[in-house]
């Protein structure tokens, strides 16, 4: 075993070196940066960045906008993740039924937004959400509801973003759930039917419990992705109005690449890393043992 490792290592070397330079190293460098006051003046002359210890983190605790961004992100996650799971699971179950007409068409339809660039989607959604001429408010008006100014009202901007993100991610989650559904052995349903279980009982006692590993995977991935919300508010609202859609990553981007406070931005990145790490740990804890069919 031991003498064999050299050859595989040799083949892995290019990938390992690249990973070391472009992934591992930056992780440490940015951690060091978060302990300095690296700003626009240090760009040309790196010696101008001073080591300031945990000062950036202390400043973060007193930064009103950071707390607002954190609150916005958690609000987004708290509503967005359950919505994403429930909708994609429901659609996956529907799409898994052999008696649905145009099943493949729907599958493609749901997957399309996932592979479309956010920029294009943002342009379209700006039209959809247009308060006067948008299709969404038009649809609402059919039911006698006067729709809000989605992106202009601080109360409705985040729900609008949630709507968009959930819709965009639907296709990917549906594919994962479909794979999970197809792994559930058919004989369990047959046995249940013989015992006289109706569709709902089958859903709650077979499908959902047996889907747990899939649900776990989807939840973790969605949560991690949603905590890093960036492109949608960046494209649609730039964090506004009244910073109601400012997410942590958007705030980090502003500090880092607009103001060039790279030290401060790195500190934000590490706080976000901590949050994601803890959230994932908690989920791991709640996870059941592997399910055996």
């Amino acid at each position: 075993m031991k003498k064999d490792i050299k050859v595989p290592l040799l083949f892995l070397a290019p990938a390992l070196v690249l990973m070391l330079i472009f992934m591992i190293l930056p992780i440490f460098v940015s951690f060091y940066l978060s302990l300095t006051d690296f700003n626009v003046f240090a760009l040309v002359d790196w010696s101008k960045a001073k080591f300031i210890g945990l000062e950036n983190y202390r400043k973060l605790l007193n930064d009103e906008l950071f707390w607002k961004a954190l609150k916005n992100t958690l609000y987004f996650v708290a509503i967005g993740v359950p919505c994403a799971i429930i909708f994609s699971l429901s659609f996956a179950i529907l799409l898994n039924r052999p008696d649905i007409i145009g099943r493949n068409l729907f599958r493609v339809g749901f997957y399309l937004p996932h592979i479309t660039t956010t920029v294009a989607i943002a342009v379209v959604w700006k039209w959809v959400l247009n308060p006067r001429y948008g299709i969404l408010n038009w649809a609402l008006s059919l039911f006698g509801i006067t729709g809000p100014s989605w992106l202009g009202d601080p109360r409705w901007a985040m729900p609008a973003i949630i709507m968009l993100v959930v819709w965009k991610g639907l296709g990917y989650n549906i594919i994962i759930f479909l794979a999970g559904l197809q792994n559930i052995p058919e004989h369990l349903y047959e046995a249940a039917q013989i015992d006289g279980a109706n569709r709902w009982q089958q859903l709650f006692h077979i499908t959902i419990p047996l889907l747990r590993p899939t649900t776990f995977f989807v939840t973790v991935m969605t949560l991690i992705g949603y905590l890093q919300l960036f492109a949608e508010p960046y494209m649609l609202t730039d964090g506004g109005p009244l910073n109601s859609t400012l997410s942590i990553v958007l705030y980090m981007y502003r500090q880092g690449f607009k103001f060039f406070n790279l030290g401060y931005a790195s500190a934000i990145a590490y706080v976000l890393f901590g949050i994601i790490f803890v959230a994932t740990l908690i989920q791991m804890k709640f996870r059941d043992e592997e399910i055996q069919y």
Binding site: L151, G152, T237
Partner: protein
């Protein structure tokens, strides 16, 4: 025999190529966005005027321009000349990568300091040094629907703040709005402050946003939203449509909107016009645009300067306007008969005489975001204008 021939031929080629390299000095120019596509015609003229000089233009999209400049500065691969957005001058100027061109300008026979609009030239001054020459400018003016204003009894655009408010109120009476205004764009907000004699920093560099002149301007701005004269939630609306439909019959914007309005809503051609900013103590507007800079590390500074001279000289500025639609930064270009026939452009030319740029300091990007945040909080009524100004003062003091 054959060998010798090849040898001679080879020698000839080498000699020729080295000679021509000596003969033509090449300068590299970085141009951004649409300008990069159009600058070729000017470069041709330049090379004809200076046969010994060659220009290599590198096109850089605006979206990656900032990163590219940073990388070039860090890696020492900067061009000789670059186009620079006015709000970037302070950031790059203060880290000392531009050549101070004040001596070049003093000795120049082609251009001189007072050829340029004062507000525009000021965007080139960082820490008391002149780091560039204005290339083109833009400024904001009032766009308004002549027909709708006439209906409410105005045969002229609003000339003062009082008239602006009055006409907006009359226009809004039919259920629409008086004008479109942004809650989060300092370029629309700052002119009101300047018109009222306000400022961000006073002459000693102290934060001056709690001065009555600033707070009053903010109060007026907020009032327009509070009384429903301007839509608080204009984000996500389509200004062209609203302008054409008459729901937002006035707005403040720059020269680019002239052509865009013709293209997007041709049905209202002839029913709208542009006018100078309304007056309070002055009718100051915002000035933006681009400058041309020489990098300190350039090895062809003389040639680079010749290029800048050429591009900013009055006649060539008129040519450049014809090619690109970019407004001349050189005042004399506006005297050209070509502009006499462009009525709307004349308004921009007039407005440029009273137009200002915000302070030129490297922290500007942050100050800009502070202004936008606090103004928005005041517009939405989260804070009174006075509270917002005080919060803004604290924000700015924190980064100075």
């Amino acid at each position: 025999m054959k060998k010798a021939l090849i040898l001679i031929l080879l020698l000839g080629i080498i000699l020729f190529s080295t000679l021509s390299a000596f003969a033509a000095e090449t300068i590299t120019v970085w141009a951004m966005g649409a300008e990069a596509k159009k600058i070729g015609a000017m470069v041709e003229k330049f090379e004809k005027a200076y046969p010994g000089l060659k220009v290599k233009v590198q096109a850089i999209p605006w979206s990656s321009a900032h990163d590219k400049l940073i990388t070039a500065i860090a890696g020492g691969t900067v061009p000789d000349v670059a186009q620079m957005g006015t709000t970037w001058m302070a950031e790059f100027g203060s880290i000392g990568v531009f050549e101070d061109v004040s001596n070049y300008l003093k000795n120049s026979k082609v251009i001189k300091e007072d050829d340029f609009f004062e507000g525009s030239l000021n965007t080139n001054i960082v820490d008391g040094k002149l780091y560039g020459i204005p290339w083109y400018v833009d400024t904001r003016v009032l766009f308004y629907r002549t027909d709708l204003l006439a209906e409410v009894g105005y045969d002229h655009p609003p000339r003062t703040w009082e008239e602006l408010e009055d006409v907006a109120r009359k226009l809004a009476a039919d259920g629409g709005y008086g004008l479109a205004l942004s809650t989060n764009n300092y370029q629309e907000f700052m002119p009101f402050v300047w018109q009222n004699g306000g400022r961000i920093l006073d002459e000693n560099g102290e934060v001056a946003v709690t001065e009555p002149a600033f707070v009053e301007a903010l109060e007026f701005y907020v009032k327009l939203f509070k009384e429903g004269l301007a839509p608080i939630d204009a984000q996500g609306t389509n200004l062209f449509q609203e302008f054409a439909a008459g729901r937002m019959p006035m707005y403040f914007s720059g020269p680019w909107m002239v052509n865009l309005t013709h293209e997007q809503v041709p049905e209202i051609d002839g029913k709208w016009s542009v006018a100078l900013m309304p007056e309070k103590k002055s009718r100051t507007s915002f000035i933006g645009g681009c400058n041309l800079v020489i990098f300190k590390d350039s090895k062809h500074k003389e040639a680079a300067w010749k290029f800048i001279e050429f591009m900013t000289e009055a006649q060539n500025q008129v040519e450049w306007f014809k090619i690109s639609g970019c407004l001349p930064a050189n005042k004399w270009a506006w005297e050209d008969t070509y502009f006499n026939n462009l009525e709307m452009m004349q308004v921009f030319g007039e407005q440029l005489k009273d137009a200002k740029a915000p302070i030129n300091i490297p922290q500007w990007a942050q100050i800009e975001s502070f202004i936008q945040r606090r103004v928005q909080e005041a517009c939405y009524g989260e804070k009174t204008p006075k509270e917002a100004a005080e919060a803004l003062a604290r924000d700015i003091e924190g980064v100075l």
